[in-house]
Symmetry: C2
Subunit: 376 residues, 2 copies
DNA sequence: CTGAAAGCGCTTACAG
DNA sequence: CTGAAAGCGCTTACAG
């Protein structure tokens, strides 16, 4: 029989000269002398096919290095087993860990992930989401979205579940994973209070940007709990990056009396603060205690290692994927998951100098200082 | 006409109850009273369609939020406009930057990128590559491949172009982008020599692992050029990570006489070395000069900032994508691109102490020390 | 400039 | 357990 020869590929190779002919399910069918339906079943481990036939088919397929086309399957099943992840920038250590969590979870469930940068540009973010729609991904996760709830109308017609991770747009969205900024910050500052600090500064992100206001609220709350008067001049703003932290710290060092501790919007801000502190010949934590937020690997290598609020980035990534999986399965409810941070106490925080030896470097604004420490 | 009503979606919605009916090219055709062929052409901006008709079709499509299925198109065209990137781990600052370069270049050419971790496990690496094959990606780039040339036979039948970036398998492969390890290391060490150092240590990766031997050769070459006798006890091995750097540095500090400078396999190794050096009450670069390799962002935040050999990671990513594009277009030649590193001189390197003030911390092994400096 | 037709490579009721 | 048939949503010669 002619149709039996190992010669593979139809004459349409002429149509796409560049593309090498790939063996298809039909080729395997011909070789195994069965219908392509049977091949399809055998390859998918359907119980509907005779075990011996199935084995034979699989052997032939494997011998030929045959791999069924996921794109053809997707067209037939209306599922791609694919998700899209849009990130601000992949070369951001925070994002990288989140993506790792997503990918690890995705692969467990036989999903592949598309990755796209949007450079924190809302327009690009929408563009990327649309390109994912074109690809018919089964779900999308967006980290640090700048669009957030504005998606709602677009999503309506897209029919693709989306979950937002640390949405930076100030509005609610049906499905999201969010770090508990308030509680994380409150604990960080409470830690400083418990060490005896009373003049505690806050270096925020750009004013009202991102999670700045939530973290600021946590800072305020901790102060209130300790009956420490809030001092507006102890609040300055950076830009969420080292550069901003450097400048903000300069401002802080220029105001008298000095603070004895600084809670930073995030680790990168703290990294910048270190630099300024060193430049002034001061030492952490001897002269100044420093706390960050995020727990980037970087903080571990600082001298001294940075006390910070850990965001379980990888877990958050996994959670996002799991939420997506539920939504895809149709068993997902609307929800905004709040993830707890964890205070990682390292060597950048200690009791203030004045505590150990009454130095004159700082003086008290707040009346009636509480007894040294305060424990929960 | 019945077929004219805006009612969209065929009755097959019953088959996939979960999947919401999507509007297809046929629905648009019905609304525009043209054939779906014409819709296809109009949407693809084919000159073969009447401008007015095209405009009308596009308007209708856009009103309905219609987005043509890339998967259907892929099946028809035998191109997915998709590439796969396999990385050891995405939460590695080196990898992240490379991926960014790839993605930026990909998006320019309307390509989407699949990302997959392989955890430096050759088996997983092959698995991931096969999953990419299933997805019919047009090309694949593998960073720090552990399989390398072993791919050859598999690739033969896969018919998917692959380019390797910093292949870690000690063998040649048709298409690769590689940093010039030898020359980068040679320059790094020559820099130390030029500062007056003569007892220069090398902390490698695990012996013979990765690019260790190439970087070691560069070290040797620089020594030879300066007529410095190679001292085996000045070569120790870490693991390419901070932990290994710490231990290796301990070993180095335990051998007498001390070295005055250390060239590290990479930045992470150097980061570990910093820690040990500080722990011994010594200071960089006063007591010891330190040079890394890679130029991770991290190095900038060290105290002092780390002198290192920069790998143009993003550029290398772009180059990999460009090479892939050529291969896909069929205009690619076999080639192994060597990329030049760049010595970034920062504050972790300086003249040795003995130079400034003859201290007794080190003594010379090599006979006939050359006159202090040596410039090219 | 337009439409009818064939085809891409699978899946899956349907009928043996 | 198996095969023939229809369909997934596009593209693209082919013939007007």
């Amino acid at each position: 029989m002619f149709s039996d020869t190992p010669a593979i590929g139809k004459s349409n190779a002429a149509l796409h000269p560049a593309a090498a002919k790939r063996v298809s399910i039909k080729d395997i069918a011909r070789l195994a002398r069965v219908s392509h339906s049977t091949v399809s079943r055998a390859l998918r481990e359907s119980p509907l096919v005779n075990p011996e036939t199935a084995e034979k088919i699989r052997r032939i397929a494997s011998d030929r290095g045959f791999r069924a086309s996921a794109v053809a399957r997707s067209l037939a099943t209306n599922r791609t087993n694919t998700i899209g992840v849009v990130v601000t920038s992949i070369d951001d250590p925070f994002v990288a860990e989140v993506v790792k969590g997503i990918e690890d979870e995705a692969i467990l469930h036989d999903y592949s992930v598309f990755l796209a940068n949007c450079h924190a540009d809302p327009e690009r973010e929408m563009k990327v989401v649309h390109s994912f729609e074109d690809r018919r991904v089964d779900g999308i996760v967006v980290t640090a979205s700048r669009v957030g709830a504005l998606y709602a109308p677009v999503l309506e017609r897209m029919h693709i579940p989306i979950v937002l991770l640390n949405n930076q747009h100030p509005s609610q969205f049906a499905h999201s994973i969010l770090i508990d900024n308030f509680e994380g910050s409150r604990q960080a500052v409470a830690h400083l209070v418990s060490l005896g600090h009373r003049r505690i500064a806050y270096i925020g992100d750009r004013f009202g940007h991102g999670s700045d206001s939530e973290r600021f609220s946590g800072y305020r709350a901790a102060l209130d709990e300790a009956d420490i008067l809030f001092q507006p001049d102890l609040v300055v703003h950076g830009d969420g990056k080292a550069e901003g932290g450097r400048h903000a710290m300069e401002k802080l060092l220029a105001t008298r009396p000095h603070c004895t501790a600084v809670f930073c919007y995030n680790d990168m801000t703290a990294i910048g603060a270190y630099k300024t502190i060193r430049a002034h010949g001061l030492t952490v934590p001897r002269h100044l205690s420093l706390v960050g937020f995020d727990d980037l690997p970087l903080g571990l290598y600082m001298d001294p290692p940075l006390t910070t609020v850990r965001q379980p980035k990888q877990d958050m990534g996994r959670m996002a994927m799991q939420a997506l999986l539920k939504l895809i399965a149709g068993t997902g409810a609307e929800q905004n998951l709040r993830v707890a941070g964890e205070l990682m106490i390292r060597q950048s925080t200690a009791a203030p100098l004045e505590h150990a030896s009454q130095e004159n470097q700082t003086c008290h604004y707040s009346s009636a200082p509480k007894p040294g420490r305060r424990r929960k």
